[in-house]
């Protein structure tokens, strides 16, 4: 039994595959990605959600703050497919609008995390000695900070000031993105550093060095592109984590203000009406769950697709 464990579910017989022509790396990754059926289905579902959120408000033209007390807390009907809240506002319109922000926060926070993580990891990985040790101490320090309490602390202390400077919407958006991103870069930094350590001793980097490439060129042209595979996977998972983090903050009532109905905010408003209007909580909760689940599956598919050691 030992040694007979297959490396992947799809390796049945290592029959001689007639390789007609070599695939480009991109096509090869796509071929591997397609094997992960749940990941492919997830791409379709997530794409549908993104399209709905982007184009939905153009089709479903009910204003998000149209108060109608005759339809208070109404369950799903034809007039309000997702029902209404305690002020009779249409939940479908609110979810479409809030979804834009929830997904945008996820993406933007991921970009912040990846940028900081790659920067710290690359600097630590290429410069040995005290710089590396110092940066890794910083990384470990951030890893041992409990993210949610510190997130709450920072938002508590800085929210008012940023609202004054950048306005309530942009200010809170920037703060949440920077803070969530600022607490998720550490795994990326460690990944990139580990990749740099192994890659910078490889022959092709040595060849570039022998040809007189500067350190910047070695890093940007040769090492970084080869270190990106795991970073892309980590980035995908980070989008899901950032969406959860934003929803958590909004759910605790400390994220976006009430007039910006992100999915977490909708849940926060809905939680006191669970017994009369469960639909109010169920739809946004299901949207968060679906977004996070599909992103996690896509991350899993990408891991299969981008890991060259995995036989598929």
């Amino acid at each position: 039994m030992a040694g007979s464990t297959l490396a992947s579910p799809t390796v049945r017989a290592p029959a001689a595959l007639p390789r007609a022509r070599p695939f480009s790396p991109g096509r090869e990754a796509w071929r591997r990605f397609r094997r992960h059926r749940l990941a492919v289905a997830s791409v379709a579902i997530l794409a549908a959600m993104v399209l709905a959120v982007l184009l939905g408000p153009l089709v479903w033209r009910v204003p998000i703050n149209d108060i109608d007390f005759t339809a208070r807390l109404s369950p799903p009907t034809w007039a309000h497919p997702f029902g209404t809240d305690d002020l009779g506002q249409d939940l479908l319109a609110r979810m479409l609008y809030g979804g834009r922000i929830s997904l945008a926060v996820g993406l933007a926070a991921m970009l912040v995390a990846i940028f900081v993580g790659v920067l710290v990891g690359a600097v630590a990985g290429i410069s040995r000695g005290s710089v590396d040790a110092g940066l890794m101490w910083l990384t470990d320090l951030f890893l041992s900070l409990p993210p949610l309490p510190v997130l709450l602390l920072v938002i508590y202390l800085f929210r008012e000031r940023l609202k004054e400077i950048a306005g309530p919407e942009v200010g809170v958006f920037l703060l949440i993105v920077v803070v969530i991103g600022g607490f998720r870069w550490m795994p990326v930094a460690r990944l990139v550093r580990a990749q740099f350590f192994s890659l910078r001793e490889k022959e092709f980097v040595e060849a570039a060095r022998a040809l007189g490439a500067s350190t910047t060129r070695q890093v940007v042209r040769h090492i970084l592109p080869n270190a990106l595979g795991p970073v892309i996977v980590a980035g995908t998972i980070d989008v899901a984590a950032a969406i959860i983090a934003e929803s958590t903050l909004s759910f605790l009532g400390l994220g976006f203000p009430p007039d910006i109905p992100t999915w977490g905010r909708l849940l926060y408003d809905a939680k006191d009406y669970l017994d009369f209007a469960p639909h109010w909580a169920l739809f946004p909760g299901a949207a968060i769950f679906l977004a996070v689940l599909t992103i996690n599956f896509i991350g899993d598919g990408l891991r299969d697709a981008l890991d060259p050691r995995k036989v598929m």
Partner: protein, 319 residues
């Protein structure tokens, strides 16, 4: 063993100092002044205000203020809560046991799910059980704790009316009834946290066991005729747990995040709900102290993980 422990404790001190520096810097950089209300109050003359600022050292350079704050914290002077009019340390000590109880039991539950399911799935890779377990773990850690909490309340408290959805610290019953009531109200919060943790741990256990089960020493153990149960438990699981402990230790900070959310949903009187309440009340001393306590708890749990690591892996010498 004791020397190993001392060394680990000594390593923890710089991390604690670093965390305290980070927290204090955040506080110092923040806009706003604790004496803002005094400044706008026309009844307080400017001299009194200046004297107060001098007394509390608000105009000192930042490193002096940090040292002042640090020594006060070390001496147990954690300040005074504006909102509830008691010392911060008494407030926190009142509420800490509840938080530790909920977090501790949920971790036990997570372990009780993750170990058997992960090991069983990894010993039969790509079987039906493995595939179902794999999909369920994805669902498990994609369901945010605040949504599972609401779902549980909806199903078990509102629809079925089996469990109470408000956690009460002051249950008047005595004897067995007291334990039973406590157990009943703890089920949902513990399950919410435990299922979320258990889902991600199951994946770690599965992949770690899969890595170990292919190694030669496992083949040897089988070849010498050991029962499959003994092979798995003694030769596979123990080795597989070493990377699992590392990954679990890395997850500990996230556990506290989940605990805050759960405490807020079920109104558990722990330090997580204290943190939210004091943020909403602008109660800065409590916010700072609770954040610091959370950071300390992370360090303590990491220390425990390190000790466990040393016990699992004798190659790490206790030096």
């Amino acid at each position: 063993m004791s020397r190993y422990l001392t060394r680990r404790l000594l390593i923890a001190i710089p991390s604690l100092l670093g965390i305290s520096i980070v927290l204090f810097t955040v506080l110092a950089l923040a806009p706003g002044d604790p004496f803002e209300e005094l400044a706008t109050n026309p009844n307080v003359p400017p001299e009194v205000r200046a004297n107060l600022r001098l007394k509390f050292g608000l105009d000192d350079p930042i490193y002096l203020r940090y040292l002042h704050w640090l020594f006060a914290m070390l001496q147990g002077d954690w300040g005074f809560s504006f909102a509830s009019r008691v010392n911060v340390d008494t407030l926190i000590l009142q509420r800490l046991p509840t938080t530790l109880f909920v977090i501790g039991s949920s971790q036990v539950l997570a372990l009780a799910i993750a170990l058997p399911v992960g090991v069983y799935a990894a010993t039969r890779p790509y079987s039906l059980f493995d595939q179902v377990a794999n999909t369920l773990t994805f669902v498990g850690f994609s369901l945010p704790t605040f949504f599972t909490g609401l779902l549980f309340i909806l199903v078990f408290s509102i629809q079925l009316d089996w469990l109470p959805f408000v956690y009460r610290a002051d249950i008047s019953a005595t004897g067995w009834r007291w334990y039973w009531e406590h157990f009943r109200q703890a089920i949902m919060p513990v399950a919410v946290l435990g299922l979320f943790q258990g889902a991600s741990w199951t994946r770690y256990v599965r992949s770690a066991v899969l890595d170990v089960i292919r190694l030669d020493h496992v083949t040897t153990a089988r070849a010498k005729g050991l029962a499959e149960r003994v092979v798995v438990l003694k030769h596979v699981v123990r080795n597989a747990l070493i990377p699992v402990v590392t990954l679990v230790a890395l997850q500990i900070p996230a556990v506290f995040g989940g605990a805050i959310v759960t405490e807020q949903i079920f109104r558990i009187p722990g330090i997580g709900s204290l943190l939210i309440a004091s943020i909403l009340n602008n109660d800065t001393p409590v916010v700072m102290a609770v954040t610091f306590v959370f950071a300390c708890l992370v360090i303590v749990f990491n220390l425990m993980a390190d000790l466990l690591y040393g016990w699992l892996d004798p190659r790490i010498s206790y030096r």
